[in-house]
Protein backbone atom coordinates (compact mmCIF):
# COMPACT_ATOMS: atom_id res chain seq x y z
CA UNK A 1 0.00 0.00 0.00
CA UNK A 2 1.37 3.40 -0.87
CA UNK A 3 0.57 6.87 0.38
CA UNK A 4 -1.52 7.63 -2.69
CA UNK A 5 -3.75 4.63 -1.92
CA UNK A 6 -4.81 6.08 1.41
CA UNK A 7 -4.43 9.87 1.13
CA UNK A 8 -5.85 12.42 -1.28
CA UNK A 9 -5.20 16.15 -1.37
CA UNK A 10 -7.61 19.06 -1.56
CA UNK A 11 -7.23 19.51 -5.31
CA UNK A 12 -8.22 15.88 -5.85
CA UNK A 13 -11.29 16.37 -3.67
CA UNK A 14 -12.32 19.52 -5.56
CA UNK A 15 -12.02 17.61 -8.82
CA UNK A 16 -13.63 14.32 -7.79
CA UNK A 17 -15.96 14.86 -4.83
CA UNK A 18 -19.03 14.69 -7.05
CA UNK A 19 -17.89 11.69 -9.11
CA UNK A 20 -20.05 8.59 -9.11
CA UNK A 21 -18.54 6.07 -6.74
CA UNK A 22 -16.88 8.70 -4.53
CA UNK A 23 -18.43 9.56 -1.17
CA UNK A 24 -16.99 12.39 0.89
CA UNK A 25 -17.66 12.06 4.62
CA UNK A 26 -16.94 14.56 7.39
CA UNK A 27 -16.25 13.04 10.80
CA UNK A 28 -15.37 15.77 13.19
CA UNK A 29 -14.29 16.10 16.77
CA UNK A 30 -16.74 18.97 17.10
CA UNK A 31 -19.83 17.18 15.87
CA UNK A 32 -21.54 20.46 14.95
CA UNK A 33 -18.74 21.64 12.65
CA UNK A 34 -20.41 20.04 9.61
CA UNK A 35 -23.62 21.95 10.25
CA UNK A 36 -21.78 25.28 10.08
CA UNK A 37 -20.40 24.47 6.63
CA UNK A 38 -18.78 21.52 4.91
CA UNK A 39 -17.12 20.54 1.67
CA UNK A 40 -19.61 20.37 -1.19
CA UNK A 41 -21.28 16.94 -1.53
CA UNK A 42 -19.95 15.73 1.83
CA UNK A 43 -22.20 13.81 4.18
CA UNK A 44 -21.71 13.59 7.93
CA UNK A 45 -21.00 10.75 10.32
CA UNK A 46 -21.19 11.64 14.01
CA UNK A 47 -18.39 9.78 15.83
CA UNK A 48 -20.41 9.63 19.02
CA UNK A 49 -24.04 9.09 17.93
CA UNK A 50 -23.33 6.99 14.85
CA UNK A 51 -20.17 5.09 15.69
CA UNK A 52 -20.55 4.26 19.39
CA UNK A 53 -22.80 1.63 20.93
CA UNK A 54 -25.46 3.55 22.85
CA UNK A 55 -25.37 1.23 25.84
CA UNK A 56 -22.16 -0.81 26.16
CA UNK A 57 -18.70 0.72 26.07
CA UNK A 58 -17.92 -0.45 22.60
CA UNK A 59 -18.31 0.76 19.09
CA UNK A 60 -21.10 -0.01 16.68
CA UNK A 61 -21.27 -3.70 15.78
CA UNK A 62 -21.32 -5.22 12.28
CA UNK A 63 -25.10 -5.00 11.95
CA UNK A 64 -25.09 -1.43 13.17
CA UNK A 65 -22.28 -0.45 10.79
CA UNK A 66 -24.16 -2.01 7.90
CA UNK A 67 -27.33 -0.13 8.85
CA UNK A 68 -25.44 3.16 9.18
CA UNK A 69 -23.70 2.94 5.82
CA UNK A 70 -26.83 1.71 4.06
CA UNK A 71 -28.85 4.61 5.46
CA UNK A 72 -26.15 7.13 4.44
CA UNK A 73 -26.09 5.77 0.92
CA UNK A 74 -22.62 4.23 0.91
CA UNK A 75 -22.05 1.12 -1.22
CA UNK A 76 -19.40 -1.53 -0.81
CA UNK A 77 -17.77 -0.46 -4.05
CA UNK A 78 -17.61 3.26 -3.25
CA UNK A 79 -14.38 5.11 -2.57
CA UNK A 80 -14.95 6.76 0.79
CA UNK A 81 -12.91 9.90 1.48
CA UNK A 82 -12.96 10.94 5.14
CA UNK A 83 -11.99 14.29 6.56
CA UNK A 84 -12.34 16.19 9.83
CA UNK A 85 -10.77 18.72 12.14
CA UNK A 86 -7.81 18.50 14.47
CA UNK A 87 -5.41 16.84 12.02
CA UNK A 88 -8.09 14.34 10.95
CA UNK A 89 -8.11 12.92 14.45
CA UNK A 90 -11.67 11.57 14.28
CA UNK A 91 -11.58 10.96 10.55
CA UNK A 92 -8.66 8.59 11.19
CA UNK A 93 -10.72 6.89 13.87
CA UNK A 94 -13.56 6.39 11.38
CA UNK A 95 -11.03 5.20 8.79
CA UNK A 96 -9.97 2.49 11.25
CA UNK A 97 -13.63 1.38 11.53
CA UNK A 98 -13.99 1.19 7.76
CA UNK A 99 -10.87 -0.98 7.59
CA UNK A 100 -12.01 -3.05 10.55
CA UNK A 101 -15.27 -3.83 8.76
CA UNK A 102 -13.47 -4.59 5.52
CA UNK A 103 -14.27 -1.60 3.30
CA UNK A 104 -12.01 -1.84 0.26
CA UNK A 105 -11.43 1.74 -0.80
CA UNK A 106 -11.15 4.34 1.95
CA UNK A 107 -8.89 7.38 2.08
CA UNK A 108 -8.25 10.47 4.17
CA UNK A 109 -8.18 14.02 2.85
CA UNK A 110 -4.64 14.98 3.89
CA UNK A 111 -4.79 17.97 6.24
CA UNK A 112 -8.52 17.54 6.76
CA UNK A 113 -10.88 20.35 7.49
CA UNK A 114 -8.24 22.60 9.04
CA UNK A 115 -6.04 22.82 5.96
CA UNK A 116 -9.13 23.26 3.80
CA UNK A 117 -10.35 26.14 5.98
CA UNK A 118 -6.96 27.77 6.31
CA UNK A 119 -6.70 27.76 2.51
CA UNK A 120 -10.12 29.50 2.40
CA UNK A 121 -11.60 26.78 0.19
CA UNK A 122 -15.35 26.56 -0.32
CA UNK A 123 -17.64 25.34 2.46
CA UNK A 124 -21.37 24.98 1.82
CA UNK A 125 -24.52 24.40 3.84
CA UNK A 126 -26.34 22.12 1.35
CA UNK A 127 -26.85 18.63 2.70
CA UNK A 128 -26.74 16.08 -0.12
CA UNK A 129 -29.34 13.33 -0.29
CA UNK A 130 -28.02 9.92 -1.22
CA UNK A 131 -30.35 7.01 -1.93
CA UNK A 132 -30.14 4.20 0.59
CA UNK A 133 -28.00 1.18 -0.23
CA UNK A 134 -27.67 -2.33 1.08
CA UNK A 135 -24.21 -2.36 2.60
CA UNK A 136 -22.59 -5.59 3.72
CA UNK A 137 -19.73 -5.41 6.23
CA UNK A 138 -17.10 -8.07 6.82
CA UNK A 139 -16.56 -9.61 10.23
CA UNK A 140 -14.41 -7.28 12.36
CA UNK A 141 -10.71 -7.62 11.56
CA UNK A 142 -9.21 -8.61 14.91
CA UNK A 143 -5.69 -8.08 13.56
CA UNK A 144 -5.96 -4.31 13.97
CA UNK A 145 -7.75 -4.08 17.35
CA UNK A 146 -6.20 -4.84 20.75
CA UNK A 147 -8.08 -5.67 23.95
CA UNK A 148 -6.94 -5.20 27.53
CA UNK A 149 -5.59 -8.67 28.30
CA UNK A 150 -3.47 -8.58 25.19
CA UNK A 151 -2.12 -5.18 26.23
CA UNK A 152 -1.22 -6.35 29.73
CA UNK A 153 0.59 -9.39 28.33
CA UNK A 154 2.42 -7.15 25.83
CA UNK A 155 4.22 -5.20 28.59
CA UNK A 156 7.95 -5.57 28.03
CA UNK A 157 7.38 -7.84 25.03
CA UNK A 158 5.85 -5.79 22.24
CA UNK A 159 6.14 -2.16 21.20
CA UNK A 160 3.66 -0.10 23.19
CA UNK A 161 3.18 3.44 21.96
CA UNK A 162 1.39 5.92 24.16
CA UNK A 163 0.36 8.73 21.83
CA UNK A 164 -1.03 11.14 24.42
CA UNK A 165 0.66 14.43 25.22
CA UNK A 166 3.79 14.28 27.39
CA UNK A 167 1.80 15.83 30.25
CA UNK A 168 -0.77 13.03 30.13
CA UNK A 169 1.98 10.41 29.78
CA UNK A 170 3.82 11.46 32.95
CA UNK A 171 0.56 11.81 34.87
CA UNK A 172 0.35 15.59 35.02
CA UNK A 173 -2.87 15.77 33.00
CA UNK A 174 -5.62 13.16 32.76
CA UNK A 175 -7.19 14.33 29.52
CA UNK A 176 -6.32 16.40 26.47
CA UNK A 177 -5.96 20.04 27.50
CA UNK A 178 -9.09 21.23 25.71
CA UNK A 179 -11.20 19.08 28.01
CA UNK A 180 -11.83 19.39 31.76
CA UNK A 181 -9.43 17.34 33.84
CA UNK A 182 -11.87 15.48 36.08
CA UNK A 183 -11.45 11.74 35.65
CA UNK A 184 -11.75 8.95 38.18
CA UNK A 185 -8.98 6.73 36.91
CA UNK A 186 -5.32 6.81 37.89
CA UNK A 187 -2.83 8.91 35.93
CA UNK A 188 0.31 7.54 34.33
CA UNK A 189 1.14 5.14 31.52
CA UNK A 190 1.58 1.44 30.76
CA UNK A 191 5.08 0.31 31.78
CA UNK A 192 7.54 0.00 28.88
CA UNK A 193 5.42 2.25 26.64
CA UNK A 194 7.21 4.87 24.58
CA UNK A 195 5.60 8.31 24.40
CA UNK A 196 5.19 9.58 20.86
CA UNK A 197 2.45 12.23 20.93
CA UNK A 198 0.09 11.60 18.05
CA UNK A 199 0.36 15.11 16.63
CA UNK A 200 4.09 14.64 16.03
CA UNK A 201 3.16 12.64 12.96
CA UNK A 202 1.41 15.70 11.49
CA UNK A 203 2.63 19.00 10.18
CA UNK A 204 1.10 22.16 11.59
CA UNK A 205 -1.35 22.33 8.67
CA UNK A 206 -2.66 18.88 9.62
CA UNK A 207 -1.05 16.92 6.76
CA UNK A 208 0.90 13.80 7.58
CA UNK A 209 4.67 14.05 7.66
CA UNK A 210 6.69 12.32 4.96
CA UNK A 211 7.47 8.62 5.24
CA UNK A 212 11.12 9.47 5.97
CA UNK A 213 10.12 11.83 8.77
CA UNK A 214 7.69 9.27 10.19
CA UNK A 215 10.35 6.57 10.13
CA UNK A 216 12.80 8.91 11.86
CA UNK A 217 10.18 9.71 14.49
CA UNK A 218 9.05 6.19 15.34
CA UNK A 219 12.10 4.09 14.59
CA UNK A 220 14.92 6.59 15.10
CA UNK A 221 13.64 8.75 17.94
CA UNK A 222 11.24 6.43 19.77
CA UNK A 223 13.18 3.22 19.16
CA UNK A 224 10.31 1.19 17.72
CA UNK A 225 11.57 -2.39 17.24
CA UNK A 226 10.49 -3.37 13.75
CA UNK A 227 10.89 -7.04 14.67
CA UNK A 228 8.05 -6.80 17.17
CA UNK A 229 4.31 -6.25 16.95
CA UNK A 230 3.01 -2.86 18.01
CA UNK A 231 0.03 -1.61 20.03
CA UNK A 232 -0.88 2.08 20.08
CA UNK A 233 -3.12 3.65 22.71
CA UNK A 234 -4.25 7.07 23.93
CA UNK A 235 -7.20 7.92 26.16
CA UNK A 236 -10.19 6.56 24.26
CA UNK A 237 -8.62 5.28 21.06
CA UNK A 238 -9.09 8.15 18.62
CA UNK A 239 -5.66 9.74 18.71
CA UNK A 240 -4.12 6.27 18.58
CA UNK A 241 -6.17 5.50 15.47
CA UNK A 242 -4.32 8.42 13.88
CA UNK A 243 -0.98 6.88 14.88
CA UNK A 244 -2.19 3.46 13.73
CA UNK A 245 -2.88 5.07 10.34
CA UNK A 246 0.66 6.50 10.20
CA UNK A 247 2.30 3.19 11.15
CA UNK A 248 0.07 0.66 9.39
CA UNK A 249 -1.27 2.52 6.38
CA UNK A 250 1.52 4.99 5.56
CA UNK A 251 4.66 3.14 6.69
CA UNK A 252 3.09 -0.23 5.91
CA UNK A 253 4.21 -1.88 9.14
CA UNK A 254 2.45 -5.22 9.70
CA UNK A 255 0.88 -6.19 13.01
CA UNK A 256 -0.02 -2.79 14.38
CA UNK A 257 -3.10 -2.69 16.59
CA UNK A 258 -5.12 0.14 18.06
CA UNK A 259 -6.12 -0.37 21.71
CA UNK A 260 -9.34 1.61 21.76
CA UNK A 261 -10.03 0.84 25.42
CA UNK A 262 -6.95 2.97 25.98
CA UNK A 263 -6.20 4.87 29.17
CA UNK A 264 -9.82 5.26 30.29
CA UNK A 265 -9.93 1.47 30.53
CA UNK A 266 -6.35 0.64 31.52
CA UNK A 267 -6.12 3.42 34.12
CA UNK A 268 -9.25 2.05 35.80
CA UNK A 269 -8.22 -1.63 35.90
CA UNK A 270 -7.55 -3.20 39.29
CA UNK A 271 -4.19 -4.85 39.74
CA UNK A 272 -2.38 -3.81 36.59
CA UNK A 273 1.02 -2.08 36.72
CA UNK A 274 1.19 1.66 36.11
CA UNK A 275 4.26 3.80 35.70
CA UNK A 276 4.43 7.50 36.59
CA UNK A 277 6.87 10.07 35.27
CA UNK A 278 9.16 9.82 32.27
CA UNK A 279 9.56 6.57 30.32
CA UNK A 280 12.10 4.24 31.99
Amino acid sequence: MSRSDVLVNADWVEAHASDDGVVLVEVDEDTTAYDKGHIRSAIKIDWKKDLQDPVRRDFVDKVGFEALLSERGISNGDTVVLYGGNNNWFAAYAYWYFRLYGHDSVKLLDGGRKKWELESRELVGDVPRRPATSYTAAEPDASIRAFRDEVVSAIGKRNLIDVRSPDEFVGRLLAPAHLPQEQAQRPGHIPTAANVPWAKSANEDGTFKSDDDLRALYVGEAGLDLGKDTIAYCRIGERSAHTWFALHELLGLPNVKNYDGSWTEYGSLVGVPIELGEAK
Partner: protein, 105 residues
Amino acid sequence: MSGGNDGCGAPAGGVAATAATDPGSQAVVEGHVLRAGQPVSTGYARLLNSGGDFVAEVPLGDDGGFRFFAAPGTWKVRVLAPGGVRAEHSVAADYGKVTKLEVAL
Protein backbone atom coordinates in the same frame (compact mmCIF):
# COMPACT_ATOMS: atom_id res chain seq x y z
CA MET B 1 -20.31 7.45 26.49
CA SER B 2 -22.25 10.36 27.82
CA GLY B 3 -21.50 13.96 28.51
CA GLY B 4 -18.67 15.94 27.05
CA ASN B 5 -15.96 15.00 29.49
CA ASP B 6 -15.47 11.31 28.96
CA GLY B 7 -15.05 11.49 25.22
CA CYS B 8 -12.46 13.39 23.30
CA GLY B 9 -15.03 15.57 21.59
CA ALA B 10 -14.49 19.27 21.27
CA PRO B 11 -17.09 21.59 22.72
CA ALA B 12 -19.98 21.72 20.26
CA GLY B 13 -19.75 24.71 17.99
CA GLY B 14 -16.32 25.70 19.25
CA VAL B 15 -15.90 27.64 22.46
CA ALA B 16 -18.01 30.63 23.34
CA ALA B 17 -15.58 32.20 25.79
CA THR B 18 -17.67 35.29 26.40
CA ALA B 19 -19.45 33.93 29.46
CA ALA B 20 -17.59 33.93 32.75
CA THR B 21 -15.85 30.66 33.55
CA ASP B 22 -15.75 29.19 37.03
CA PRO B 23 -12.39 27.43 37.06
CA GLY B 24 -13.15 25.28 40.11
CA SER B 25 -10.01 23.21 40.49
CA GLN B 26 -9.06 23.58 36.82
CA ALA B 27 -6.19 25.62 35.37
CA VAL B 28 -8.06 27.39 32.59
CA VAL B 29 -6.47 29.32 29.73
CA GLU B 30 -9.03 31.07 27.56
CA GLY B 31 -9.43 34.07 25.36
CA HIS B 32 -10.55 35.56 22.08
CA VAL B 33 -9.02 36.22 18.72
CA LEU B 34 -9.87 39.56 17.17
CA ARG B 35 -9.07 41.37 13.97
CA ALA B 36 -9.75 45.12 14.00
CA GLY B 37 -11.87 44.57 17.08
CA GLN B 38 -14.07 41.93 15.39
CA PRO B 39 -14.09 38.24 16.38
CA VAL B 40 -12.18 35.86 14.12
CA SER B 41 -14.33 32.73 13.94
CA THR B 42 -12.40 30.84 11.27
CA GLY B 43 -9.14 29.68 12.72
CA TYR B 44 -7.54 27.46 15.31
CA ALA B 45 -5.89 27.89 18.69
CA ARG B 46 -3.13 25.48 19.60
CA LEU B 47 -1.75 24.92 23.09
CA LEU B 48 1.96 24.10 23.26
CA ASN B 49 3.90 23.20 26.40
CA SER B 50 6.94 25.16 27.53
CA GLY B 51 9.14 22.93 25.37
CA GLY B 52 7.12 23.87 22.31
CA ASP B 53 5.42 20.47 21.96
CA PHE B 54 1.84 20.40 20.71
CA VAL B 55 -0.66 19.61 23.45
CA ALA B 56 -4.11 20.47 22.11
CA GLU B 57 -5.97 22.36 19.41
CA VAL B 58 -9.47 23.82 19.18
CA PRO B 59 -11.37 25.58 16.41
CA LEU B 60 -12.26 29.16 17.31
CA GLY B 61 -15.86 29.75 18.38
CA ASP B 62 -18.24 32.16 16.72
CA ASP B 63 -17.03 34.84 19.13
CA GLY B 64 -13.39 34.05 18.31
CA GLY B 65 -13.12 32.21 21.61
CA PHE B 66 -10.92 29.35 22.73
CA ARG B 67 -10.46 27.54 26.05
CA PHE B 68 -7.97 25.02 27.39
CA PHE B 69 -7.82 23.09 30.65
CA ALA B 70 -4.14 23.00 31.38
CA ALA B 71 -1.99 22.40 34.46
CA PRO B 72 0.07 24.86 36.51
CA GLY B 73 2.99 26.22 34.52
CA THR B 74 3.89 28.19 31.45
CA TRP B 75 2.22 27.47 28.11
CA LYS B 76 2.16 28.93 24.64
CA VAL B 77 -1.01 29.65 22.71
CA ARG B 78 -0.53 29.74 18.94
CA VAL B 79 -3.33 30.97 16.68
CA LEU B 80 -3.61 29.94 13.02
CA ALA B 81 -5.96 31.77 10.66
CA PRO B 82 -6.52 31.75 6.89
CA GLY B 83 -3.94 33.51 4.77
CA GLY B 84 -1.00 32.09 6.71
CA VAL B 85 -1.73 34.36 9.68
CA ARG B 86 -0.10 33.24 12.93
CA ALA B 87 0.21 34.71 16.39
CA GLU B 88 1.82 33.29 19.51
CA HIS B 89 1.64 34.26 23.18
CA SER B 90 3.06 32.81 26.41
CA VAL B 91 0.72 32.41 29.35
CA ALA B 92 0.99 31.16 32.93
CA ALA B 93 -1.73 28.85 34.26
CA ASP B 94 -2.59 27.75 37.78
CA TYR B 95 -5.28 25.67 39.47
CA GLY B 96 -8.39 27.62 40.40
CA LYS B 97 -7.51 30.44 38.04
CA VAL B 98 -8.76 31.58 34.64
CA THR B 99 -5.90 33.03 32.61
CA LYS B 100 -7.33 35.41 29.99
CA LEU B 101 -5.70 36.19 26.71
CA GLU B 102 -6.76 38.49 23.91
CA VAL B 103 -5.07 37.84 20.58
CA ALA B 104 -5.16 40.61 17.97
CA LEU B 105 -4.35 39.56 14.41
